[in-house]
């Protein structure tokens, strides 16, 4: 079998982590290519059902990253995200998703190197966990949910 290349989706906020990842680029730091970044105004916008959808559609791991606790561009969006994350993690665990498949981090606009490290570490740890297959179960519940939202 080929070397397993995990698919990782990163949900990041526009003000801190997106800019931090830009800095990684301007600094020409290298990191694993497995990550795809999706931009949000704020981690507060991230609906955790989205993460569920990402797993259902075949992601092996997810990074959620925004501003440091007191630096949120919108003052408190990241706190709300954190709080919802606590609830969501419980739910995931109940569903049998290893919580380590979701990495919650803070990367500021000045932390280009941290972003590179975060991606590399996540890729490594997801490689260890192996591909994620269990999403079919979830896909069902997700479909039901999607009906109400299309």
């Amino acid at each position: 079998m080929d070397q397993f290349e995990p698919k990782i989706v990163a949900f990041v906020c526009n003000w801190c982590t997106y800019a931090g990842a830009d800095l990684t680029g301007t600094s020409r730091l290298k990191y694993a290519h497995n990550v795809r970044i999706i931009r949000f105004p704020c981690t507060g916008r991230i609906d955790f059902l989205l993460l569920q959808q990402a797993f259902a559609k075949g992601a092996d791991g997810i990074i959620v990253s925004g501003c440091h606790p007191n630096d949120c561009h919108y003052t408190s969006g990241n706190f709300h995200a954190r709080r919802r994350w606590m609830v969501f993690r419980q739910m995931l665990e109940n569903m049998g998703v290893e919580a380590e498949r979701i990495v919650f981090s803070w990367v500021s606009a000045a932390e280009g190197a941290k972003w590179a490290d975060l991606v590399n570490e996540t890729v490594e740890s997801i490689k260890k966990l192996g591909p994620y297959h269990k999403y079919q179960d979830m896909a069902k519940s997700l479909e039901e949910w999607e009906v109400t939202h299309e």
Binding site: K7, Y18, H33, R36, R45, Q53, Y74, A81, R84
Partner: protein, 669 residues
């Protein structure tokens, strides 16, 4: 049917060195909905932009994806180009294939694949973008300044001199705030009244300023540019138009023993009074809680002596609504008093006083005519002890912060004392001398070297009275913690500066946040120090944190500059990336179930309640409504709403779910 154009940039070699750009373009052309796809060396150059503009016209594009650098770099450029070609700018998206791809990966197949993926993702997103119009809101060019201390005065004057109307609302009968109580001010020792009074008079006479003293803000509605401020004008019991400020009434009023707030309880005032001689406005008010007529129904002496028949006992409070485009909060601070210091006998021993009381004693217009006399028996103290950090930097007492101004005013007090009592000895118990400011350390050094104040590094443990003296028990930590006992004639506690007692209530009325010490919170500690989280509401002076006069005034001018910047526009234009709660035809009105769980999570208080009623006023449904003037588009409410009734323009559910699907539906690597 979507007609999307994809434009892949080489950025010279920056992208093309690791990403196979023409294959990315080619791949894109096969995506559903893409009708045009090209690559080019420099997209942001003039020819590059022309390429896009012409393609929009030629292919009747309904959406554009530029695969190039970070949108943080050139999104405005390309959106502008689209707009010039007649395409709504919000139908243009950028795929970041430089910072997030070519620069961070080696030249491999995976890198080109990543670029293809990102382009696909944005093509799917842009298909679901909506043409948005920037939000325009009109601006009422009138400011309400709340609080008339030095900060409120400065802000009012700056805005008024900028040519705009100001309404200054002051709670007390006069403006002036704490600065009007001060004797002389550090670091220059100029007389506080001398520099403040002209400003107060200027406020009173400025054609652009309306001053409502003895008034309070009791409600606030609306949003930036369009506030409605509800104000209670407390009854002063005089007709201000008739009163000439002659002062006969205050001289004749038989109730004379009311502790004067202005004199910090060291002097008295009558029931009809102006707080101090230079008060602005210089017209008295009747203190209803102490006036014999209000209490017992007789007296009316003031009415009899008033030459202009200005007294109005039956005057009611008045509630007025005012339109304003901006608000400046300048409600200042207070200092800690009373039972806070049982170990120092504060409130128990008359000669243990606080800093503001000392200011009154040292003030030429104060109760002792500027002689330092102790309150108990009027003696001139020969030994005086100043206790710094009294209650500040004291987690056990619940105040962890440094009050910032007390090191300086304590040094000032020691100096003023020494200047007036040449044979006396001032002692200062301190922990650190915090004198970081222009000419500040020089000032405290002068207190030590020239005026020979004895600074003792250590906190006072307790103060007790013994045979007419106050025994101050402290330690000298620079001598290893050796005990020091000073028999003082008077003790001055530099008590902590705290938020104004009414600040929490006011913050709730005007919807601004406050910190755990109840000081108003700035929007960003470094880069937005005079803004609040509520657009259009600004902070000036010590209501934000303990501040001295220079800082209060700088902040006030900063706030005024923000207001003037706002008033420079007739309309406000905002990016339309805001949240909306859906609406539909009755009987549903909205899928919103009216739980209002979204309300408290919004950092900008943008979520309001909208009620649908029948013609006879019966409530049919209450649903959330988002005020686009206030919403900043963080999306927190969107993620929170269980019934998925809120969506965010630019980052709608449809858009981001599609992004996720588009990304993962095909194999990545």
């Amino acid at each position: 049917m979507a007609r999307i154009g994809v434009f892949v940039c080489h950025c010279g070699e920056n992208i093309s060195a690791t990403v196979d750009c023409d294959r990315v373009a080619e791949n894109a052309s096969g995506l559903p909905g893409v009708v045009h796809s090209v690559d080019y060396k420099y997209m942001c150059s003039d020819p590059g932009q022309t390429l896009i503009k012409e393609a929009i016209k030629e292919h009747k594009l309904t959406g554009v994806v530029v695969a190039a650098c970070s949108p943080r770099m050139h999104e405005p450029t390309f959106r502008k180009a689209c707009a010039e070609a007649g395409l709504n700018p919000f139908l243009c998206e950028m795929a970041n294939v430089r910072e997030h791809c070519s620069w961070v990966h080696e030249k491999t197949e995976s890198t080109t694949q990543k670029a293809k993926d990102v382009v696909r993702l944005l093509v799917e997103k842009v298909k679901r973008n909506e043409a948005l119009q920037p939000i325009k809101v009109p601006v009422t060019k009138k400011a309400v300044v709340i609080g008339g201390g030095v900060a409120g005065i400065q802000a009012s004057l700056d805005i008024a001199n900028g040519g705009h109307q100001v309404l200054l609302v002051e709670r007390e009968p006069s403006i002036g705030g704490h600065m009007s109580q001060l004797s002389e001010t550090f670091p220059t020792l100029d007389c506080s009244q001398c520099i403040l009074t002209p400003r107060m008079v200027e406020v009173a006479q400025h054609p652009n300023i309306t001053l409502w003293s003895y008034s309070e803000v009791i409600g606030l509605d609306g949003f930036i540019g369009n506030f409605t401020v509800k104000i209670r004008k407390k009854a002063k019991s005089i007709d201000e138009h008739l009163c000439t400020g002659c002062g006969l009434c205050t001289q004749k009023c038989p109730v004379r023993k009311i502790p004067s707030e202005f004199e910090q309880g060291l002097g008295t005032r009558p029931a009809i009074y102006t707080p101090f001689p230079q008060a602005v406005p210089n017209k008295p008010v009747i203190d209803k809680l102490n006036c014999t007529y209000y209490l017992k129904g007789r007296c009316k002496l003031c009415e009899r002596v008033c030459p202009t028949q200005a007294i109005r006992f039956d005057q009611p409070d008045e509630i007025v609504e005012v339109q304003a485009g901006a608000i400046v909060l300048a409600t200042g601070y207070d200092i800690k008093r009373t039972d806070f210091f049982p170990e120092y006998g504060y409130g128990k021993y008359k000669d243990v006083i606080d800093g503001l009381q000392f200011e009154r004693l040292a003030s030429a217009s104060g109760p002792t005519g500027g002689m330092i006399r102790r309150p108990s028996d009027g003696q001139i103290p020969k030994n005086i002890v100043f206790v710094a950090c009294a209650g500040s930097r004291d987690p056990a007492k619940g105040i962890e912060y440094c009050s910032k101004i007390c090191c300086m005013y304590t040094a000032k007090h020691a100096m003023l004392y020494k200047h007036k009592v040449h044979d006396g000895t001032p002692y200062v118990f301190y922990m650190d001398i915090r004198a970081a400011g222009k000419d500040y350390d020089e000032f405290t050094r002068r207190a030590i070297e020239v005026d020979r104040t004895k600074y003792i590094r250590g906190r006072v443990s307790r103060i007790y009275e013994k045979e007419g003296k106050l025994v101050v028990v402290g330690a000298d930590t620079l001598l290893g913690g050796q005990k020091v006992e000073i028999e003082a004639d008077m003790v001055v506690l530099a008590t902590a500066s705290v938020a104004n007692p009414g600040s929490e209530e006011l913050a709730q009325i005007v919807h601004v946040s406050y910190d755990r010490y109840k000081f108003f919170a700035e929007a960003h500690p470094k880069l937005k120090p005079v803004e609040t989280n509520t657009a259009g509401i600004f902070l000036a002076g010590a209501c934000q944190a303990p501040k001295d006069i220079p800082e209060s005034v700088s902040a006030a001018s900063g706030a005024a500059a923000k207001v003037l910047g706002l008033f420079a526009n007739d309309e406000l234009t905002r990016e339309p990336l805001v949240a909306v709660v859906n609406r539909m035809a009755p009987p549903l009105f909205s899928t919103c179930i009216g739980c209002f769980l979204c309300q408290p999570v919004c950092p900008y208080n943008a979520i309001e309640r909208e009620e649908f009623k029948t013609r006879d006023g019966k409530l049919l449904k209450a649903v959330a409504r988002i005020n686009p003037g206030l919403c900043q588009g963080c999306g927190t409410c969107v993620a929170l709403c269980r019934s998925k009734s809120i969506d965010l323009y630019g980052y709608s559910n449809k858009q981001i779910y599609t992004e996720v699907s588009a990304l993962l539906d095909e194999a990545l690597v």
